[in-house]
């Protein structure tokens, strides 16, 4: 019976460890995801605008540059809603975000009521969250950053990765196809550096508008990990922009998470104080 006691204690420990690793996990997906995804997938940064080279022999890189040109802006302000398909119910979270380059972003949650007023600031590789309910500014620090964000496959760290795709990946056009009724070029991106989350990616890019319509992320082994579908491409301030994105973890069962931009503005005047900790309160 003694070793069974020990076993029981060990089991407590184990359940405890599990509880710890559950911290950032929920079956439902995440609030933060919207911000993260929009900053990771659709770089808001002022990327290189120089490549106006030959279009005939389109290299992967030049296509990515064009995507960058199309999507990027000095800054952007947007409102979005995120629909999280839970096992039980769906829920919608709306937020307003300001971002400038890749290094600064600020979001405020508008609904649901419980989360309204929660603000998040990402600044130079650091992340703070302010919550009116506790009236506290909490910094997500150290190894917490490496944990995945609420059951998603992105960690806080991913969210902090502000490098350009063209800096990280070698890309080449592998084939052409049609997707959502549009001609697309399929790009294969292979990491050039070692410290990236995904070793290989595949992007389906509208051959005319240079908007990504689908993106797949692969593990080093070639295993498909997740897929993003981008839809509802609209012309906004002279650029083509996908307003809806559906994100799905391919290893897990479930319907994924849907993001929708409800309002978006590029190249606005954003007061500098937005991107300071003072604006959290």
């Amino acid at each position: 019976m003694f070793n069974k006691n020990i076993e029981t204690i060990k089991r407590f420990q184990n359940s405890h460890l599990k509880a710890k690793s559950r911290i950032m996990f929920s079956h439902n997906g995440a609030l933060m995801l919207a911000v993260i995804l929009f900053s990771v997938i659709l770089p808001g940064g002022s990327h290189a605008r120089s490549a106006r080279g030959e279009q005939t022999q389109q290299s992967g890189e030049s296509i990515l540059r064009k995507v960058d040109q199309n999507l990027s802006s000095k800054n952007r302000i947007f409102e979005s809603s995120m629909i999280i398909h839970g096992r039980r119910s769906d829920r919608t979270v709306t937020s307003r975000s300001w971002s400038e380059g890749d290094k600064k972003s600020f979001s405020e949650y508008l609904s649901p009521a419980a989360e309204a007023g929660t603000k998040m600031l990402k600044l130079e590789g650091q992340l703070w969250i302010y919550t009116p309910s506790a009236d506290r500014t909490i910094q997500i620090s150290g190894h917490m950053l490496r944990q995945s964000v609420m059951g998603s496959d992105l960690s806080y760290e991913d969210m902090m990765d502000d490098r350009k795709l063209t800096d990280i990946y070698d890309s080449r056009v592998v084939s052409k196809d049609t997707l959502q009724g549009r001609d697309v070029l399929i790009l294969e991106l292979t990491a050039r550096v070692t410290d990236v989350a995904y070793h290989r990616q595949k992007m389906w890019i509208d051959a005319e508008r240079f908007v990504p319509l689908r993106q797949e992320m692969y593990a080093k082994s070639g295993q498909l990990l997740k897929r993003m579908e981008l839809k509802d491409v609209e012309r906004i301030q002279g650029r083509w922009f996908p307003k809806t994105m559906i994100y799905k973890d391919m290893l897990k069962e479930g319907k994924g998470t849907e993001f929708r931009m409800t309002k978006i503005q590029f190249d606005q005047q954003i007061p500098a104080h937005i991107f300071t900790k003072a604006s959290l309160r």
């Binding site: 069974k4 405890h16 829920r91 969250i129």
Partner: protein, 424 residues
């Protein structure tokens, strides 16, 4: 004859008192041994039951499938109603709601910014309701190292090691950063009422105990709960009864095919517990077998001695012309009566002692330094149906057997030699 014998037993104390005392003592010891052993053996089960599983656990089916991840998004939504229903259905069982959660404890500096943070495993239990046994199940009051038990909403207990790692004093406020039932952020401030030591390094590194209502507010779980645990009145896990409760409840819910319909599970159904249960049962069964056998031999010996002791008496009776078979039968009847009387007395005393020890518990904290939460310092003998009859096995059976063997000598005796033998 039986009446006569009984009269003899009752009146001739010289003949019956000692055997009755011996049988009663033996029966009492057997009862105590059984209940103590069962209690000690059941302790780890009890610990699991108190901390994690309850005797019966009701969750949604979806929650049950992923229970080890504490999926509060799959919680029971109208749990208060369900608890009421359960109380009506199984009034003998103490039904309690609990929420298990993982969270980040964030300790602020004077400016309200993060000074330090660490992951914690959390229990939300009913701390404040009148008559709630929850704090007792966790042995909380005895485990407080600094500060005191929480006595109002918003107060909580955190593990001592966590507190000392971040220099947290009782009375300080910190923020619990977790996930609401729906998957949103949850930030709630709590005041550290006291620190506790759980005695398990893993838990001591980071655990927090908060009140159920606070957890419901914090995780947007109004009226909901992750788990409803049922505690049977017996101190130690009574599998039959638990299974009966489970079967009855599940039968009632069988028609509901929803994955969020409630489902009852017993302690046995929890991962690893089946093994533990079987293991415990077989070991205690084995030990009890040995003890009862030893007791049986002792009492059999007692019976044998009792028989031998009356050597003279039988000689006289044979000499007086009493039939040997009659003497033998009367001896056996007497043994049966003495055995029964002794067993009844012994069992009664044993049950009274075991029950009172069960209620009050034996504080062995003096024997163990560093009383811990996981290892309750109060040991309680088990009280179940077995204690009412186990004493009779050595008591009656061996008494009769011993006398039967001793008495067998009666047939060997020859009347002619009797007087010689008896030196009368």
């Amino acid at each position: 004859m039986k009446k006569f014998l009984l009269k003899g037993i009752l009146h001739d104390r010289g003949r019956s008192l000692l055997p009755v005392i011996v049988v009663a003592t033996g029966a009492m010891l057997t009862v105590l041994l059984y209940s103590w052993l069962t209690g000690v053996m059941g302790e780890s089960l009890e610990m699991s039951s108190n901390f994690m599983t309850g005797d019966v656990k009701v969750t949604t089916r979806a929650y049950a499938a992923d229970a080890d991840q504490f999926p509060n998004d799959l919680a029971i939504l109208d749990s208060d109603l369900l608890v009421e229903e359960l109380r009506k259905e199984e009034p003998a069982v103490d039904w309690v709601s609990r929420i298990r959660f993982g969270a980040l404890a964030d300790f602020p500096d004077s400016a309200g910014e993060t000074r330090g943070q660490g992951p914690v495993a959390g229990w939300a239990i009913d701390l404040f309701s009148e008559g709630s046994l929850e704090a007792q199940r966790f042995n909380l009051a005895a485990s407080v190292v600094r500060g005191a038990m929480p006595d109002s909403p918003g107060e909580c207990l955190i593990s001592e090691d966590l507190a000392s790692r971040f220099n947290v004093e009782p009375g300080e406020e910190f923020t619990l950063f977790g996930t609401t039932m729906e998957g949103g952020f949850s930030f709630t401030n709590f005041i550290v009422a006291g620190t506790v030591r759980f005695g398990s390094a893993g838990l001591d590194r980071g655990a927090v105990v908060i009140d159920l209502n606070d957890a419901r507010n914090a995780f947007a779980m109004q009226g909901a709960t992750g788990e409803i645990l049922g505690y049977l009145p017996e101190t130690y896990f009574d599998e039959e009864e638990a299974e009966a409760v489970k079967a009855k409840l599940n039968a009632g819910w069988a028609a509901d095919t929803d994955e969020f319909a409630p489902v009852a599970q017993t302690l046995r159904d929890m991962p690893g517990m089946g093994d533990l249960l079987d293991y415990t049962k077989s070991i205690s069964g084995f030990m009890i077998f040995i003890f009862v056998s030893a007791m049986t031999i002792v009492l059999w010996n007692g019976g044998l001695l009792g028989g031998l002791r009356r050597y003279t008496e039988f000689g006289v009776r044979i000499a007086l012309g009493e039939d040997k078979g009659h003497i033998y039968r009367s001896l056996l009847w007497e043994a049966l009566m003495i055995g029964t009387i002794g067993s009844v007395i012994g069992t009664t005393i044993g049950v009274v002692i075991a029950t009172s020890l069960n209620i009050h518990g034996i504080d062995i904290s003096g024997m163990m330094k560093n009383a811990t939460m996981l290892m309750p310092s109060i040991v309680r003998p088990a009280v179940d149906s077995v204690i009412y009859y186990i004493g009779f096995i050595p008591g009656v059976f061996s008494m009769v057997l011993g006398n039967a063997l001793a008495g067998a000598g009666i047939y060997k005796r020859e009347t002619a030699r009797l007087f010689n033998e008896l030196e009368v």
